[in-house]
Every structure is written in structure tokens, then in C-alpha cells.
């Protein structure tokens, strides 16, 4: 029975892997990876790693793959020509390299001096690989790696937000000169209604910092207009002030 299950799961896993590499559309590649992950979880179960199998299905096939599907939908998973542009020679070399790697790995694995490779492994007690045992290990012997992993996740989340946020992140060189540290922390209109309705900042800011239309040329024109208007207002104010002063002087003299 275990043999049948193993071969079913192994064929599923390998077929899924081939699907990931060979399918043209990234969207179908992602779906192939999902089937691969589920088959792999079955293999984990056969190896009595219940908790890892469950985590694999929930975290990978659930969360990470949904993220992938979103990004494929956003980037527009256009069909990618599988071949010729990069040169046929390179592909043949890559396939040869892959075959070589496989032969090498199998020789290393099966020719190893480890006798237990040819066995089913020792008989284990009932709780092997259960959530209880894994939790105990994580919170006692492997506490430090566990904490480091949590920090790593936090850093990765912050990094992804910084990389992919609407403005900032990767900008052109000339824009970066205009950044101050406070701009990176919090642009002036963050959390305002103006941002909510997609209006631009009142204060002129570097183009990458602006919410709004996707067309950079239009944005530049808008900004130029805003600056012009501000200059005109300034000039008008100065004239007003000058007039008032003149009038005051005349009144003084009249007195």
C-alpha cells in the first residue's frame, strides 16, 4: 500500500515540477506548482512528517501561491516564447547540465556509505512528527532559530512593502537627491483624504512620490502648472503689499 501511494505521489510531484518548467504561461506554471506541492505533502505524510505536510499545504499551496497568482495577474502573465531568442545552444547546455547534476546526485545518494538509506528507517514512537513534538522542539532546543525566523519574516514583510509601494522604493537617480529622511518615513499627505481619493499633494514633490495618473508627462505638466500658479499668486501678493505701503506713505504725507 505504501509503495502504491509513494509512486502516485512521486509521479504527481515530478509531473508538477516538469509542468512548472515546461508550461508557457506563468499562470499555468503556478497551478502546476500547486499540484506539485500537494503531492509533496503526501510524500511528507508517508515519511511521518504530519506537521510539515500540513504547514506545506496551508502556507505554501494556500498563502504563497495566492500571492503568486495575484502578482501574475498584475504583471500580466503574457505567454513567453519558450525558446529560441536566447539561443538554442544555451538550452542544450542547460539540459546537459541538468542531466549531469541528476546523475551526480543519484550517484552520491545511492553510492553513499550510509546503510540506512536502503531501509525504511527505524521504528518510531507514535508521536513522531506531530505538532506536539515539533512545537516542543521549536520552543526548547531550537528557540533561537525560531526567533530568528520570526525576525526574518518581519524584515521580509517590511522589505516587500518598501519595494512595492506606490511611490518611493526604486526611483530614478535624479529623484533620490530630493529625498529627505522624513520623506522616506512619511510623505506629507500620508493618511489624508487627498491620498484616499487619489489627489496629488499640494506641495510639489518628486514624481515617484506622487499618487495619480500613470502618465509621467502629464504629471510633469500638472506640476509645472501648479508652480506657475504659485508664482503668480506670489507676485500678486507682492504687488498688493507694495500698493498698500504706497498708500500709507501718501496718507502720512497728507497729514
Amino acid at each position: 500500500m505504501a509503495e502504491v501511494l509513494f509512486f502516485l505521489a512521486a509521479i504527481g510531484a515530478v509531473a508538477g515540477a516538469i509542468g512548472v518548467v515546461a508550461l508557457r504561461n506563468p499562470f499555468f506554471s503556478v497551478l502546476a506548482l500547486v499540484s506539485h506541492l500537494v503531492s509533496l505533502a503526501a510524500l511528507f505524510l508517508l515519511l511521518q512528517a504530519e506537521f510539515v505536510a500540513a504547514a506545506q499545504v496551508v502556507v505554501y499551496a494556500g498563502a504563497v501561491m495566492v500571492l503568486y497568482v495575484f502578482v501574475v495577474a498584475y504583471v500580466g502573465g503574457a505567454d513567453e516564447p519558450l525558446g529560441p531568442q536566447a539561443g538554442r545552444g544555451l538550452r542544450i547546455v542547460a539540459a546537459a547540465f541538468g542531466a549531469m547534476l541528476f546523475v551526480e546526485l543519484v550517484v552520491a545518494l545511492l553510492g553513499t556509505g550510509l546503510k540506512a538509506v536502503d531501509s525504511n528507517g527505524p521504528v518510531v514512537q507514535a508521536g513522531f512528527g506531530s505538532a506536539q513534538q515539533i512545537g516542543e522542539l521549536l520552543l526548547t532546543k531550537f528557540l533561537l532559530p525560531f526567533e530568528i525566523a520570526s525576525f526574518l519574516l518581519l524584515i521580509a514583510a517590511v522589505g516587500a512593502v518598501v519595494l512595492a509601494r506606490r511611490r518611493g522604493g526604486l526611483t530614478a537617480e535624479e529623484d533620490q537627491a530630493r529625498y529627505s529622511a522624513m520623506d522616506m518615513l512619511r510623505p506629507a499627505y500620508t493618511g489624508t483624504m487627498a491620498e484616499g481619493v487619489g489627489r496629488r499633494a499640494i506641495r510639489p514633490s518628486p514624481p515617484a512620490l506622487q499618487v495619480g495618473t500613470d502618465d509621467p508627462a502629464a504629471e510633469q505638466e500638472d506640476r509645472a502648472e501648479q508652480e506657475d500658479r504659485a508664482e503668480q499668486e506670489d507676485r500678486a501678493e507682492q504687488e498688493d503689499r507694495a500698493e498698500q505701503e504706497d498708500r500709507a506713505e501718501q496718507e502720512d504725507r497728507a497729514e
Partner: protein, 99 residues
């Protein structure tokens, strides 16, 4: 089943992933192939854990799972940033870092 069979499957999946990284040009698919390679390593780790009857190998696999999730997050963030800057989504054309 012998542990050797699991290790063979793991080697096969790793090889397929490596070949995919070498041949595909879309960074999305390259990331997927990296996932394949990490999963193959996971399978080997769990097989060895079973071989020794020791669950510590499974902790390794879980940590690898976490690292893979981080790698995916940052990688997808980079792809979204590439899309925002209208760069070609093609690893062959992005060679500014080649020096």
C-alpha cells in the same frame, strides 16, 4: 519504501528546478523554479529525519519553509517594482548589474 527512493525523487525535482532556472527567462517562473529546488531540499531533509528516527530534521524543513516564504515575498516585490518602472519582465534584458 526505502529512504533511497525518496532521495532519488528529491534529486530529480532539484534537477528539474535547476534546469528551469537556467532556461526560463520570466523572473516569475525563475522564482517558481527556485521554489522547486527548495522543496526538493525539504524532501531530502525530511527523508533523512525519518532515516534517523529524529524529528530535528523536520525543524530544518520548517525553517527552510520560512526562508522560502521570505524569498518569495521580496522577489515578488522586486517584480512588482519592475512592472511599476515599466522595465521589461525578462531576466535576459535586465543586465544593468552586470557591470
Amino acid at each position: 519504501m526505502d529512504i533511497g527512493w525518496y532521495l532519488t525523487v528529491s534529486a530529480l525535482i532539484f534537477t528539474i528546478g535547476a534546469a528551469g532556472v537556467l532556461t526560463r527567462r520570466s523572473p516569475l517562473v525563475v522564482l517558481l523554479c527556485l521554489e522547486l529546488m527548495l522543496n526538493a531540499a525539504n524532501l531530502a531533509l525530511i527523508a533523512f529525519a525519518r532515516m534517523h528516527g529524529n524529528a530535528e530534521g523536520q525543524i530544518f524543513a520548517i525553517i527552510v519553509l520560512v526562508v522560502a516564504a521570505c524569498e518569495v515575498t521580496v522577489g515578488l516585490g522586486v517584480i512588482v517594482a519592475m512592472r511599476r518602472r515599466r522595465l521589461p519582465i525578462d531576466v535576459d534584458e535586465l543586465r544593468e548589474l552586470q557591470g
